[in-house]
Symmetry: C2
Subunit: 201 residues, 2 copies
Amino acid sequence: MNQGSLIVLSGFSGAGKSTVINQVLAQRPEIYFSISFTTRAPREGEVNGVNYHFVTKEEFEARIEKGEFLEYAQYNGNYYGTSMAVLREKMAQGIDVILDIEVQGAALVREKMPESISGFIVPPSFQHLEGRLRGRGTDDEETIQKRLAIARVEAKEVPKYDYIILNDAVENAVAQVFAILDAARCRTQGRMDLLEDFKGE
Amino acid sequence: MNQGSLIVLSGFSGAGKSTVINQVLAQRPEIYFSISFTTRAPREGEVNGVNYHFVTKEEFEARIEKGEFLEYAQYNGNYYGTSMAVLREKMAQGIDVILDIEVQGAALVREKMPESISGFIVPPSFQHLEGRLRGRGTDDEETIQKRLAIARVEAKEVPKYDYIILNDAVENAVAQVFAILDAARCRTQGRMDLLEDFKGE
């Protein structure tokens, strides 16, 4: 059986990444969504063990020492990290895995697992991003400005990603993610078994 | 506007490549199918200017001398070649182009246009291939054995392709081609314009 693919998804804060990923998972429940560990406080509606494993700084640092993380990073003063074991197990079972991480973590995954694929979710324009951040009404002006400044810095890292996913409408972004995953399943390196039969003589 | 992609499709003789490509083009008439020049005789039902540009050996060699071909090759005693100009024009218009060529030609295209993508269409097994070749009833036993021997040689070249398209059912193979084309449209190198907006300051 073929290995599942690992797709790393990042995006500007406010680009609609969570909505896209939730739709992807709703339409393809067979995909495994890797739940990160984080030390940040849960937002309204977020559930421990569903959105994140919410842990204390002390617990997170203990897990770092145990070498448990494929990647971890600090972002906006909080730790975020991905546990390796479950992810490898799912892929070995032929299951595609989605990792929702920021650019620092994505760079580490790319380095440690070169066979992974990565996609960066962008809004149609900077103005769109600003509009969405204001529109969701969860952040004060200072936070919004901080997020926009981070977006400008993150944009410099996007060329390292394999794909850019344009979120001009959720269903379009979802279709792009599916195409990327479906194409990944056709990659020659993962289908060499189909040639075995032709090797005789 | 983004460039169209060039996808090179090859496959074992009898793997159902023509059927797959015809279905792809029927469902997405916006794709441009590059019509090759060949010196082989038309098969029953083949139309000049639709399936191939059928030309004489003399005419083909004159076109070689004019440097008209992106690639050309001899296969089974006949010339096959792809004219470059139309193909570049279509891609510049944002149109995806399909090139149906054999392994030697595909290697040349990969070299000259590294941004192209390539897929090799395989049947589920060697037995399937043999069955299909006999089933279509167009070839005598000697020709069938020749095709099977060529398949074994071609199989060694398949690892150089980006993708393997498994033709276990035409609709599955068609879906794989669409996923590959749709993913190609998301490639970062072709979408750098989406980042322009985030470069300020």
